[in-house]
């Protein structure tokens, strides 16, 4: 594997820069909140800067191969390596994470949720960032697992400490669900380790190997373990119930991070690990994943229609949106998986933004009960319009980012990968398309109830209800811009992901057709790094 020797350190720095910031903040006394905010913001900006450099420096002509590849020993005794690298599949997600965090810190500038303590809050956020970026760059199953879990604790506390009324239940539920999933996922990782001849956790090798030498029955079981692990995180129906609770109770920043990045860890796991490593099992499970995905789409939408709380509604909409992402993945086609990655980024921007709005609404109205809101367009017109805009993006309006996650996923379902039942997926396609109607239904309904009409008597003369503030503008503008940019020029993302996705699937297909091209696969599949 040839490497770009000069900049290999870059990825490590990107991953751990937030942690360094967090360590510095540990040394600053708690009272000095301003310094904490500055350090946190600065750290995340540095990370963003590094990520931006990564984006520039990344060799797009070679997006299918891992770049900035580092492979050293980490825990020799268990054969786990510190193996990191980035290719077209992970690059957009890293960029998304690096972008979201500074916005969260900007927003936190004057929105530290109750009961305060900026120091702890910001440190946890930075640890989260390291965990999230780390998950996207990890190329070793154990490393992946560790980063995957690092995210858990800070999020738990974010909900538990800075959450709403019912935070205890929500945080525990979140924690238990995810841990349950990841425990089974770990079992699957171990099984992969022992069942393949290579005895390695290296994702590259396991991907090349693509389940060779594992009997079909075992593959199915191992895949099921990962399915649970990643599926809980996504979350897929019926493992989704933690999500609305977690979102509803989490502070705004927590919701944003949760929606924008955390949920993607699960779907990313599917496309990075579960499918390429066990293509045969993926093929067998695909109809079931697809089924749960479309159930999620419809179910999430129906759930939304039943909500009386704005934040909970947005949370449920995530279930539906991630359903589209999973449908794309379940087709096992390059179209579908490209769409899924796009959908992940788009959902991150859009739903993240929706949660920001919900947070601001809560701050102004001190309630998120849809019934009591109304007339936001009259009292805070910009806020109302932004809500309208983002709702449109969320319901998949072409020309905005959301569309490119949904439409290609539906498109891919028309013609799933060979070996996956076409009839079944065409039914899914129709159901998913119907889901778009419901999506429009609940989002517009939300918009109508909250933004349109006359302000209710309760809030009509409330001086608290002001329009978008400066910090909010700074925090939101990049997201809004991103929603438009990727909606108009979806190629920006598709062109990065496409080579990587195509290659990862090529490898699966090669294995499926039983070609003994181990040599060829070894040279191409592991290239780059």
């Amino acid at each position: 594997m040839e490497t770009i020797a000069d900049t290999n350190w870059l990825l490590t720095v990107v991953v751990f820069a937030p942690l360094v910031g967090a360590l510095i903040m540990v040394l600053i006394p708690q009272e000095d909140e301003q310094s904490h905010k500055q350090v946190a913001l600065f750290t995340s900006l540095v990370t963003l800067g590094l990520a931006a450099f990564l984006l520039i420096d990344f060799n797009y002509g070679d997006a299918e191969n891992l770049q900035y590849f580092v492979d050293t020993q980490w825990i020799e005794v268990i054969g786990a390596g510190y193996t990191i690298g980035v290719d077209g599949m992970s690059l957009p997600l890293i960029a998304l994470t690096a972008l979201i965090m500074p916005l969260v810190f900007v927003y936190s500038w004057n929105h530290i949720p109750e009961p305060g303590n900026a120091k702890a809050f910001l440190i946890l956020s930075l640890i989260l960032e390291t965990g999230m970026i780390g998950t996207f760059v990890a190329q070793d199953l154990v490393l992946f697992f560790v980063f995957f879990e690092v995210v858990l604790l800070p999020m738990f506390f974010m909900i538990a400490v800075w959450g709403g009324e019912n935070r205890r239940y929500a945080s525990l539920k979140f924690f238990l669900f995810t841990l349950f999933g990841s425990a089974l996922m770990l079992l699957s990782f171990l099984a992969l380790y022992f069942l393949t001849e290579a005895d390695t956790f290296s994702m590259l090798v396991l991907t090349e190997n693509a389940g060779e030498g594992i009997t079909r029955g075992t593959q199915l079981l191992v895949f099921a373990g990962m399915f649970l692990g990643f599926g809980v995180k996504v979350p897929m129906f019926p493992f989704h119930t933690w999500l609305p609770d977690a979102h509803t109770e989490a502070p705004t920043q927590g919701s944003v991070i949760l929606a924008a990045v955390l949920l993607k860890l699960g779907t990313y796991g599917f496309i990075r690990i579960a499918i390429p490593m066990l293509p045969e099992a993926a093929e067998a499970w695909a109809p079931w994943i697809g089924l749960l995905a479309v159930i999620g789409i419809i179910y999430g939408a129906l759930g939304c229609l039943a909500q009386t709380d704005m934040k909970r509604l947005i949370a449920f909409s995530s279930v539906a949106h991630m359903g589209f992402v999973m449908l794309g993945i379940a087709t096992l086609t390059d179209f579908g998986i490209n769409a899924a990655i796009f959908g992940m980024v788009a959902h991150g921007l859009i739903t993240g933004m929706l949660f920001f709005i919900a947070g601001s609404v809560k701050e102004r109205y001190h309630t998120l009960e849809i019934k009591r809101l109304g007339g936001m367009l009259a009292q805070a017109p910009r806020l109302g319009w932004i809500l309208g805009f983002v709702s449109m993006a969320s319901l998949g309006l072409p020309g905005l980012a959301g569309f490119w996650g949904e439409f290609p996923a539906i498109l891919a379902a028309y013609n799933p990968a060979a070996g996956v039942s076409e009839q079944t997926f065409r039914v899914y396609m129709v159901v998913a398309a119907v889901g778009t109607v419901l999506a429009a239904g609940y989002l517009l309904w939300l918009l109508q109830r909250t933004a349109m009409g006359e302000p209710s008597a309760e809030f009509a003369d409330d001086p608290n209800i002001t329009d978008v503030s400066t910090t909010e503008w700074i925090a939101w503008a990049p997201l809004l811009f991103g929603i438009v940019l990727f909606g108009v020029a979806p190629g920006l993302i598709f062109e990065v992901t496409d080579p990587a996705v195509t290659q990862s699937l090529d490898n699966c297909i090669t294995t499926l057709t039983g070609c003994e091209v181990a040599e060829a696969a070894a040279s191409s599949g592991s290239g780059g790094g």
């Binding site: 179209f335 349109m452 006359e454 979806p490």
Partner: protein, 706 residues
Amino acid sequence: MTHNANWFLEYAWLVPLLPALSFVGILFFGKRMRYKGAELGIAAVSLSFLLAVCAGFAWIQHHDDVGYQAVQSSTQWLQSGGVEFGAGVLVDGLSVMMLLVVTIVSLLVHIYSTDYVGDDKRYTHFFAFLSLFTAAMLFFVLSDNILQMIVGWELVGVCSFVLIGHWWEEKPNSDAALKAFLTNRVGDVGLIIGTITLFFAAGGGNTFDTIKINEAIVQGEVGHTALVVASVCLMAAVMSKSGQFILHTWLPDAMAGPTPVSALIHAATMVVAGVFMIARLYPVFFEGMQIGGSSINLMATIGAVTLVFGGLLAFVQDDIKKVLAYSTVSQLGYMVMALGVGAWTAAVFHLFTHAFFKANLFLGSGSVAHAVHSFDMKKDMGGMRKFMPKTYVTFIIGSLALAGLFPLAGFWSKDEILVGTGGWGLFGGTGGNGAYTFHLLMGLFGAALTAAYMTRCVYLTFHGEFRGDRSHGDPHESGPRILVPLYILSGLAIVAGFVNLPAGFQLVGDSWTERFGHYVEPYKSSYFPAIDHATPSWSLAVVASVVALVGAGVAIYYYFVKVDRLADQTQQSLTELPDGLSKSNGLAGAGHKVLVNKYYLDHLYEGVIVAFTKVPLARAAYWVNQKVIDRTVDAAGETAVLVGRQVYDVVDQSVIDGFVDGSGRVSDATGEELRQINSGKVQNYAAILFAMAAVLAGTFLIIFAL
């Protein structure tokens, strides 16, 4: 033309770009401008209009030079799965025609709006979205692939949503906006699926390019099943966008928006997007619906039903804009029916003429409403002729054009549609793609209806005595910014029909006939099916005119003669005759006396036409519309919410969450039980220890030693 003609065709993408830039400009800087953004919008649309005109001339030249060859310029938009998706413009007669229609109507509406919504608090915002709509619509008509069409299709839908809900303070307005958007979304399901089917089925697979898809179909490379599926699915989209029966209910509700919006979006341009799409992807429908070979098909039938249904509904409206809205539904029905019977040019031509006279009528109604601050013909209008003579004239011209009276624009286009049905075999009319006699009859019936309801509308609005509130003084004529667009549009309503005089029209030379069809219809190009053109028929033209005149005549007799006279007698401004069957009050009694003493025609009218058409049929249609179709739409929404509640309460909260919480409780309870082991008594502990040791020993002994 001094320029290289092709420049305007290749750079046609500038036409939508200008209003798009204007949208951004108005959005960010509009409030700070002198005229609050309106000037930017008008300037951009004017430029677009000029470019469109130039493109029109360029196209004519191009067509003369090289024949019907579309100019396509595209670039890669995105790439996925190794497939490249292009973005580009497709310029041919159809799109150039649409450019002209959209830009001119949009420009006039822009100008009109500066007065009409002049003191609106969201004036700037209104213009921003007018610009965006114009851009989106132009983008849509120029798309060279279906994916791009979807984008434009949805964007115009959003603009429609925003503009219908322009006065969102009132719940009915926002309801109407939601209804419009959601109904369209339902159709979009069809659009998405149909598009995807075409993507995989046509053009060797994996392309959205309209020309490639069309060519593949024309060359017979695409399986029939796929085309049936695609055409039926796309038809659903057309039905929602172009207000076809049964997805039309949003369109009358959409009248909640400001009148200029109704004129531009819900009469002239956006609602014809469905028609445009059929025209653009005609091979899909031609093959999928088997238009060429049969005498009945889904599309033609939907069109026919819609045109009659819409016409009937227009009868019973009291709101002037609703009359026009149902009229639009009816006219769109004509267009779809025309396409359904294979009369492509007739449909597109009707689209062209309809845009002008319907926009004219809408803006005219707006002018009246602007004066009386209401749209209710029965309550707040009447006798407006005296206050607004100029508006009256333009309105009359528009009505006549709509009614299809010679020689106004509507006459020519409607006549072509009737001819195109091929059902008029009796006196020399021939050909077409089959004998759609039923559709011809429906079309004729619709023509009579159109004339009649427009007569009613004109009477109620402009004749009789003013019934509105005079406390703020008399209504007065609108200003020039409203009137000038009305003049221009009524002028167009008069002359627009001449661009496509029927072949064999002996009054002019052959080089003046069928100009529109010649330049617009991609006949014999590689991406158009082989359709048969019907031969125009003098006899049908005469019959159609007579039918329309009869329709108008009956209504004139009813309103201008009978109602007027009764009004004179009773010294009241009446809107209709009291019910002849009821004698329970004085007014009704008087009416009844008049009735029984009059001509046989009365009986014919009362007993047959009115009694049969207006009262039961129109009212029945209205009842069905409001109580069945509309209720279905609402009920679908309510059911979804209800189901959502149920699913959420039962499945999510009880079953799934219950399972999760339940397992927690079971764990807790088990833990509690297990705690009993620790009784605190040390000898119990010892007993457990020894008992377990003994049990283990016993078990293993049994396993191993025995």
